[in-house]
Symmetry: C2
Subunit: 231 residues, 2 copies
């Protein structure tokens, strides 16, 4: 069961700009509504399946995030869908890193192009083992930590989310049917920054100071013909 | 088998701006490299599963396209991957319509946001039955036709593609692993335009004047709470 949730996810949806201090650090504007994008299943890096691959010419940023999976199909939820109702729909959680090719994304933003390439390279979605929901009784009382070479880069509580899970679900489900098993990432706190080949990455999710799950891997240069150049 | 290809597609990838006259009609610039985006599996509208749903406040445009599925995994193909090698990797074809919420997409382009919402509403990917590859011996000798209420809106040959299938595959596979079953849409010719509730849509793919497959459905207003408003 601890990795089965990965095969069960028909789609992977990620909320953008859901922590105020992260919006500020990238000079972005805060969204009036949650916006989201898709990551391909081929970008998943399972635990102990490392290394994480940095494509040539790409500035990769780490974004540590709380993810959850659904235990039912959700469609056209009303805007007053409640926090309590939302928790009932969660099958469990995962620790995740929404790796982002920042220079590829910046070019896409400037040119009005999709984000799929900048978010979708192979290994750009490191995931932890499945976390049963009892282990995170309150998804806003969890701490996300990411370290590079032993140095803390991101460390914040999930109570800093701008759009809570029930708002995310009512918004998304009115646009596209959310299916049992779908995996949803809830946004990253401040502290995003580059990962380069040779780096050792560790991420943790903690509840009341205790580690619930962790991810560990090394970064290497991606082999193959790809090299990013702005054109 | 005729619909099994739909369940086998782990991801759905769509090329943008692959026909010169379509790039011109939307005042876009031609890409130096193919760019692509993902559509969610929840957006698929199977044959005879209509209606197609127009979200409130949304200007939906039809984009009729040739789609194909892969019979193997492709990763890090070199830029000189050949047309002949590409044809070997095709399991079969489908007629598809890449429905696009044009005003949602225009706002996303202006603000540098992802395209996932504008491309991903439920029913935004009408698909035909599977087309065995023998029925389209040359993917550049096919004709795409789309009619609304009996009037022809799009009608062009696939030989007008800017990036042929082998270039699409070498580019995509160097970014993300393409898996057996993945569904790839090759872009739309000119003539895109709005669909409104009440419209009757028909699309055809023809080879040497003979219909190979067709899609037919009606458009209705999407129920539920969603209404698009630019903010
Ligand atoms: Mg996108
Ligand atoms: Mg993120
Ligand atoms: Mg298209």
């Amino acid at each position: 069961m601890s990795l089965k949730y990965i095969d069960n996810a028909r789609k992977i949806l990620c909320i953008g700009r859901n922590y105020a201090a992260h919006i500020k650090e990238l000079n972005n504007t805060a969204p009036a509504q949650p916006f989201f994008f898709l990551k391909p299943s081929s970008s998943i890096l399972k635990p102990n399946d490392g290394p994480f691959l940095v494509p040539k010419g790409v500035v990769v940023h780490h974004e540590v995030e709380l993810a959850f999976t659904l235990n039912r199909t959700l469609k056209d939820l009303s805007p007053d869908f409640s926090a309590e109702e939302a928790l009932e729909c969660i099958e469990g959680y995962a620790l995740s890193i929404d790796m982002t090719a920042r220079n590829v994304q910046d070019e896409a933003k400037k040119k009005g192009l999709p984000w799929s390439i900048g978010k979708g390279f192979d290994t750009f979605l490191p995931l932890s083992n499945f976390i049963p929901r009892e282990k995170i009784p309150d998804p806003y009382n969890a701490e996300l930590v990411l370290k590079i070479n032993g140095e803390v880069k991101q460390q914040d509580k999930t109570d800093l989310m701008i759009f809570p899970i029930h708002k995310i679900l009512s918004h998304m489900s009115a646009i596209m049917t959310l299916e049992k098993g779908d995996l949803i990432l809830t946004g990253t706190p401040k502290g995003v920054g580059p990962i380069v080949p040779g780096d050792k990455i560790e991420a943790y999710i903690k509840v009341d100071g205790e580690i619930v799950e962790e991810i560990k891997f090394d970064a290497e240069q991606k082999p193959g013909p790809y090299e990013y150049k702005e054109i």
